[in-house]
Symmetry: C2
Subunit: 123 residues, 2 copies
């Protein structure tokens, strides 16, 4: 079942909350329970210091991508732990990993971050 483990499993996330154009004084919709669950899963991926550091490391890396091998030392956790957190980020659709030879290059998915930003814009 673990085929294609790297391209993540971007469960449909925030589409339910597509709020139309950017910066439009949008109509505030009531948040249904199931939508809230989906949204909360996305924010859960951001709710850990190690994952935030990983995201930051990847986002600020040269060329917009970072080798997984360069992510272990900076966060000060074990390799299995880092691997676990990268999986969480992948499954949340926040990053993607591309395997090249022996190692894996990670890059962020800007559109996913943008989705979450839009949600926070509704005040």
């Amino acid at each position: 079942m673990s085929k294609n483990a790297l391209t993540a499993a971007p469960r449909k996330l925030l589409d339910v909350l597509d709020l139309g154009e950017c910066c439009t004084p949008l109509r505030r919709e009531l948040l249904e329970a199931d939508q809230a669950v989906t949204l909360a899963e996305a924010f859960k991926a951001l709710a850990d210091p190690v994952r935030l550091q990983l995201l930051n490391l990847i986002a600020t890396a040269d060329g917009g991508e970072a080798c997984a091998c360069d992510l272990v030392d900076p966060v000060g956790k074990s390799q299995p732990t880092v691997s676990h957190h990268l999986k969480v980020l992948r499954e949340a659709g926040l990053v993607t990993g591309e395997k090249r030879g022996t190692w894996i290059w990670y890059s962020v998915v800007p559109s996913r971050l943008e989705d979450l930003r839009r949600v926070l814009a509704r005040t």
Copy 2:
């Protein structure tokens, strides 16, 4: 010790990550471990379906504020549970509660949401 429990305890949060003017192609800073912890605490407050619903209910309420008494039924949880989640939101600085007579009126803190949005903008 529980004096002034309503005005929340807005632990300094995202000031560490003040990125300067909006929409500036800002310099990407490395995220230190302690900063990541502070940030993660903020996102943790958003990482729960009930809290997202509460935030949404408050944000979309008439006049921008909602009575706590009107927040229990919509989320389908017990009163202590809702009270707990409102406390988490308060301590994260995402909402404030003002006591008027017997009940408490909650409103969101837009600047705090804006802070988190800025963090997600760094890609």
